[in-house]
Amino acid sequence: MCLCGTKAKKLPVLASRAFSSSARQLKNKVPEAQKLFQEDNGLPVHIKGGTGDMMLYRATMTLTIAGTCYSLYWLLMASMPQKKA
C-alpha cells in the first residue's frame, strides 16, 4: 500500500489489515484480464496474453515439427529390411 506523499500519521497496525484472518483474500483480477483480452490489437486468443503465450506456442510447435520428423525417421527404420548377420 503506497503512502507516499501523505503526511506521516502513525496508523495502528490493526487498521491496515482489512481482510479476514481465515484465509488470504485474493483480489478479483477478472476485469483486468477482460481488458487485456478485449484489446483491439488483432492478436488471436492463443497469443493475446503476452510473451509467455508466444514462448509456449513456439515450444509446442517446435515439438510438433520435431516429433513429426522423428516419427517419419522411425517409419523409415521400420520399413527397411532387417540385415541378416
Partner: protein, 261 residues
C-alpha cells in the same frame, strides 16, 4: 473494429487442433516404436505434446468465455449439447466393457470350471473397501451438488470448501482403489475374470482421476472469481462428468463386485 450481427462464436484461428492431432500420431506410432524397437522417446514426446495442447486449448476457451464474453446463451447451449454428447459417447465406451463382462460371466465356459467366479479366483469382499468406495463417491455427489448451490447463491467460501471436499473425496477413492489393486489376490493376467475386472475398473479409475482434475481446475477458477451465480457452465460440465463417473461405479459395484462375487 468489425462487429458481428449474430450471437454465435466465430473462433480465432488456432494451432491446437493440429498439435493435438500430431500428439495423437506421435503417441500411437510411439507405442509401436516402443514395442518393436524398445525406445519410449517418441511416445513420451507425444504425451508431452498432448498435455501442452490440452492446457493451451482449454486456457483459450476460458479466455474466450470469461475474458472475451463470447459464451452468449446460444453458444452456451452448444457447449451443453457438446458435453452431453461427449458423456454419452463415454457411456457407450463403458457399455462395451460391461458387455464383455456379462458375455463371459453369464455363460462361464468349461475352462473356467463352468462357474462364476471362475475356479481358483478369490474375489474381493464387496462389503469391505468396495462398499467404502461406494460411500465415498456417493458423498462426493452430495458435496458437488452443495458446491453448485453455493455458486448459484453467491456463497464464495462455501463453494470453495464444498468443491475442495469433493476433490478430496475423489482422491480418497483413488487412494483406496490403488490399495485394493495392490492387495488383490488376482491379477489382470488371471483369465477373463482378471481381464474384465481390471480393464473395467481401471478405465473407471482413470475417469475418476480425469474428473478430479476437471473439478480441481474449477476450484482454481472459482478462487479466481471466474464464475458468477448465473454463468458457471465449466463447473456444471465438471459436475455432470462427476455424476457420470459415480453412476459408472454404481454399475461396476453391483455387476462385478457384488453379483460377480
Amino acid at each position: 473494429m468489425a462487429h458481428q450481427a449474430h450471437a454465435y462464436h466465430m473462433v480465432d484461428p488456432s494451432p491446437w487442433p493440429l498439435t493435438g492431432a500430431i500428439a495423437a500420431l506421435l503417441m500411437t506410432s510411439g507405442l509401436a516404436v516402443w514395442f518393436h524397437f524398445h525406445s519410449t522417446t517418441l511416445m513420451i514426446l507425444g504425451t508431452i505434446l498432448l498435455l501442452l495442447t490440452m492446457f493451451q486449448w482449454w486456457r483459450d476457451v476460458v479466455r474466450e468465455g470469461t475474458f472475451q464474453g463470447h459464451h452468449t446463451p446460444p453458444v452456451q447451449k452448444g457447449l451443453r449439447y457438446g458435453m452431453i454428447l461427449f458423456i454419452t459417447s463415454e457411456v457407450f465406451f463403458f457399455l462395451g466393457f460391461f458387455w464383455a463382462f456379462y458375455h463371459s460371466s453369464l455363460a462361464p465356459t468349461p475352462e473356467l470350471g463352468g462357474c462364476w467366479p471362475p475356479t481358483g479366483i478369490t474375489t474381493l469382499d464387496p462389503f469391505e473397501v468396495p462398499l467404502l468406495n461406494t460411500a465415498v463417491l456417493l458423498a462426493s455427489g452430495v458435496t458437488v451438488t452443495w458446491a453448485h448451490h453455493s455458486i448459484m447463491e453467491g456463497e464464495r467460501k462455501q463453494a470453495i470448501q464444498s468443491l475442495a471436499l469433493t476433490i478430496a473425496l475423489g482422491f480418497y477413492f483413488t487412494f483406496l482403489q490403488a490399495m485394493e489393486y495392490y492387495e488383490a489376490p488376482f491379477t489382470i493376467a488371471d483369465g477373463v475374470y482378471g481381464s474384465t475386472f481390471f480393464v473395467a475398473t481401471g478405465f473407471h479409475g482413470l475417469h475418476v482421476i480425469i474428473g478430479s482434475m476437471f473439478l480441481a481446475v474449477c476450484l482454481l477458477r472459482q478462487i479466481h472469481f471466474h464464475f458468477t451465480s448465473e454463468h458457471h457452465f465449466g463447473f456444471e460440465a465438471a459436475a455432470w462428468y462427476w455424476h457420470f463417473v459415480d453412476v459408472v461405479w454404481l454399475f461396476l459395484y453391483i455387476s462385478i463386485y457384488w453379483w460377480g462375487s
